[in-house]
């Protein structure tokens, strides 16, 4: 296949990190070089795909069999945006990691693990077959657990185990749903399912099982219990990857299912998910306010932000909702990654992340604090951040569907996030500038965090063209996202 064939790009998006992982596993010495090459290559590919899918979705039949017998790779604007976001965050962490790993004495097996994680992410975003999605989910979950456990400390190990068990139960619920769907419709391909899915008991059972499973993996309140530990005790670059990308993946699958086979799901289910989302926003924010460790605060903020994503389900039929949610996923990924990387710098410098002892940070690590602050401003959703546009679209959707209670929720949630973000920044502005210096923070670590936060902040200015791409034929119908080729 020629490089011009967009289908080939899809394949390479999965294979490039996988091959890189194999090489790194065989010859550890070249790890960093390989990782950089892969990161740059996948970023280019992702951008190319995003550009291409603007003209319409791309399908690629692996092995030439074609769905429903074979497995297809599928990319539409939603996929494109996710791929681009993932590759950006991974690019940043790739340059960030070496300094951090060296200092925290973290095993170099980080590299193969993180490369497989990327392969799993891309494979999941490109998957169009519900069983294939199951395999990618497992690949993703196990690599994430391995990365968490790299922080070789008992708390981290415990968090990793808890994460693993939760994610296994979730996968099995999902798999049982797949089994029931397959045995009632005889196909695994999302499109074919969306065509043939009807309101049979089997479909609704599958809906329940798969949604629950994915909600556990996506840490929807009250199934978020595994997240704070896993995301806060992991090494900083891993925390960034988990909060920015990994936790979005199951939600992405939910999006696919609810825009496809489950599009006609009873609205009560959607409302229930929305209510849980609201609970997540409030609970997560309140917990974030009560933490005294920076990384735990950021982790709980992720719990809250996931709540915003789940406002998708009650508004699923609204006009601008898909654009809003997609943009929100991207914007949150960038901002949250920046915040975790900044937190990593602070820990690296101070040796701890107790919020009350953040003196000197404003003076000694201005760029890092700026990165955290800008990331926080994005999370709050102030203009011109991408989150602002995204929340604007959410509220618009709420007004369109006449249920503007959800709009109030969005604004309230933003206020709460402002509270915990500035709680941290306030502590960074303190008088006592103790002369004692902390560990020097390597330049790449500072700049990756800072630049990432700038990208997140200015995302809103580029939102218009992005939204042009995301907006698909008839919004509000099952092929709103162009699930149908």
């Amino acid at each position: 296949m020629s490089a011009a064939d967009p289908g080939a790009w899809l394949v390479w998006l999965v294979m490039s990190p996988l091959i890189a992982a194999i090489l790194v596993f065989l010859v550890p010495r070249i790890a960093f070089g390989i990782a950089c090459a892969n990161a740059l290559c996948t970023t280019a590919l992702a951008l190319a795909v995003l550009d291409r899918v603007a003209e319409g979705p791309v399908r690629y039949a692996l092995g030439g069999w074609g769905a429903p017998l074979g497995i297809d790779l599928y990319a539409d604007p939603l996929t494109g945006v996710m791929l681009v976001g993932a590759s950006f965050v991974l690019l940043a962490t790739t340059f960030y990691a070496p300094g951090y790993l060296a200092q925290a004495r973290i095993d170099a097996l980080y590299w193969p693990l993180v490369l497989i994680l990327q392969a799993a992410l891309n494979a999941l975003f490109l998957a169009a077959d519900i069983f294939n999605i199951y395999v990618t989910l497992e690949l993703l979950g196990l690599s994430a657990v391995g990365l968490v456990a790299l922080a070789d400390r008992t708390r981290a190990i415990a968090a990793a185990l808890r994460y693993l068990l939760a994610s296994l139960v979730a996968s099995l619920a999902y798999l049982l749903g797949v089994a029931i769907l397959y045995h009632s419709h005889g196909v695994l391909d999302l499109v074919a399912l969306a065509d043939s899915a009807t309101g049979t008991p089997a479909t609704w059972a599958a809906l329940g099982l798969m949604t629950t499973g994915l909600a556990i993996k996506g840490a929807l309140f009250p199934m978020h219990f595994w997240l704070p530990g896993a995301h806060s005790y992991a090494p900083a670059p891993v925390s960034a990857l988990l909060s920015a990308l990994v936790v979005k993946a199951p939600f992405y699958v939910l999006l696919r299912l609810w825009l496809g086979p489950f599009f006609d799901a009873p609205p009560e289910v959607g409302d229930l998910l929305g209510v849980l989302g609201v609970a997540a926003i409030i609970w997560g924010s309140v917990q974030a306010l009560r933490q005294d460790r920076l990384k735990l605060l950021i982790a709980y903020s992720t719990v809250a932000q996931i709540g915003f994503l789940f406002l998708f389900f009650p508004l699923v039929k609204a006009h601008t909702i898909v654009q809003g949610i997609t943009l929100l996923m991207l914007a949150h990924a960038l901002a949250k990654a920046a915040m975790f990387l900044a937190a990593g710098n602070i820990i690296h410098y101070l040796g701890h992340d107790r919020i009350h002892d953040l003196h000197r940070v404003a003076k000694e690590l201005p760029l890092t604090l700026a990165a955290f602050g800008i990331g926080g401003v994005c999370i709050i959703g102030l203009p011109p951040s991408g989150n602002f546009i995204a929340k604007w679209l959410l509220i618009e959707a709420a007004f369109d569907s006449g249920e503007w209670g959800w709009a109030v929720v969005v604004v309230t949630g933003s206020l709460l996030s402002a509270a915990y973000v500035f709680r941290v920044i306030g502590h960074a502005f303190t008088l006592d500038d103790v002369p004692e210096a902390g560990n020097r923070v390597a330049r790449p670590m500072v700049w990756t965090a800072f630049l990432l936060s700038l990208v997140a902040l200015t995302l809103g200015l580029f939102a218009a063209p992005l939204l042009e791409v995301i907006s698909m034929p008839v919004a509000g119908t099952a092929d709103a996202m162009g699930i149908f080729p």
Binding site: M1, A8, M15, L18, I22, F25, L26, R29, A31, F32, Y60, A61, L62, G63, G64, W65, P68, L69, G70, I71, A97, P98, A102, R105, D107, A108, L109, P112, I116, A119, A120, A123, F131, N132, V135, T136, E138, L139, L142, S143, V145, G146, A149, L150, A158, L161, R162, A166, L176, I180, H183, S184, G186, T200, P201, A202, A205, L209, F225, W226
Partner: protein
């Protein structure tokens, strides 16, 4: 360490949970009973395309050809799990357990036979039930037997050859996939590579990897794996 959030001991909680699970059961039962009595699924399509795969066993055909991509990813899962385990263990090694004289001898006699069986399963897999996974499992079993019997296996589990063995299955899949691309037009499309050969190579690579990885996992759990500490340190320096 408790997956459930509230106190799992409180009887009320247990009762509630029991009610929930029972209702889940009832709901799923209803769903399953409502399934159509006979559903073809993809069986006919598989039979129709079977000839094109050069494999007579439809399960093997599905695994290696129709849904080969799944199999590829799942080999990645195996490898990944092993890498993660190594990263976690950082190689606390426990001494090889002393095995009884007779046990050692018998195991030494039995292992070759098992390896032979594995080979047969591999070959037969194309036409009859069997194939890479069964073969790999038997291989691993042979290894496990030897380990338990205290037979000294090569301990350098981080050597290059050994690692090549671990990744063989995945590498073969990816390699042949790309070869398929170059030869004809689609990733994982073997139609122009001589399907029979391809099938064997894939099965062989997969079997070796699966056997080795499973064995490695077992030894890790035993705490028997040596040297990863050294390995991880030698790796640890590279980006220091």
């Amino acid at each position: 360490m408790n997956v459930g959030e509230p106190d799992a001991r409180s009887p009320l909680y247990r009762v509630l949970l029991a009610v929930v699970t029972v209702s889940i059961f009832l709901g799923l039962t209803f769903a399953i009973l409502s399934l159509p009595p006979d559903a073809a699924g993809l069986a006919e399509r598989v039979d129709a395309e079977l000839a094109a795969t050069g494999v007579r066993n439809s399960v093997t055909a599905t695994l290696l050809h129709f849904r080969g991509y799944d199999t590829l990813l799942e080999l990645a899962v195996l490898l990944l799990a092993l890498i993660a385990i190594r990263a976690i263990r950082r190689g606390e090694a426990s001494p090889p357990r002393p095995g009884g004289e007779i046990l050692t001898v018998l195991a030494g006699l039995q292992a070759p036979a098992m390896i032979l069986v594995a080979g047969y399963l591999l070959w037969a897999g194309a036409d009859a039930p069997g194939g890479a996974f069964q073969a790999g499992a038997v291989l691993a079993a042979a290894g496990v037997l030897l380990v338990l019997a205290g037979v000294q296996l090569p301990q350098r589990t981080d050597g290059l050859q050994f690692r090549v063995g671990l990744i063989a299955g995945l590498a073969v899949f990816v390699g042949l996939g790309i070869a398929g691309v170059l030869a004809s037009s689609a990733f994982l499309d073997y139609s122009r590579l001589g399907v029979r050969v391809v099938t064997l190579v894939l099965e062989g690579g997969a079997a070796v990897s699966i056997g080795l990885v499973l064995l490695e996992m077992f030894r890790s759990v035993l705490g028997g794996s040596r040297a990863p500490r050294k390995a991880s340190r030698s790796m640890g320096q590279l980006d220091g």
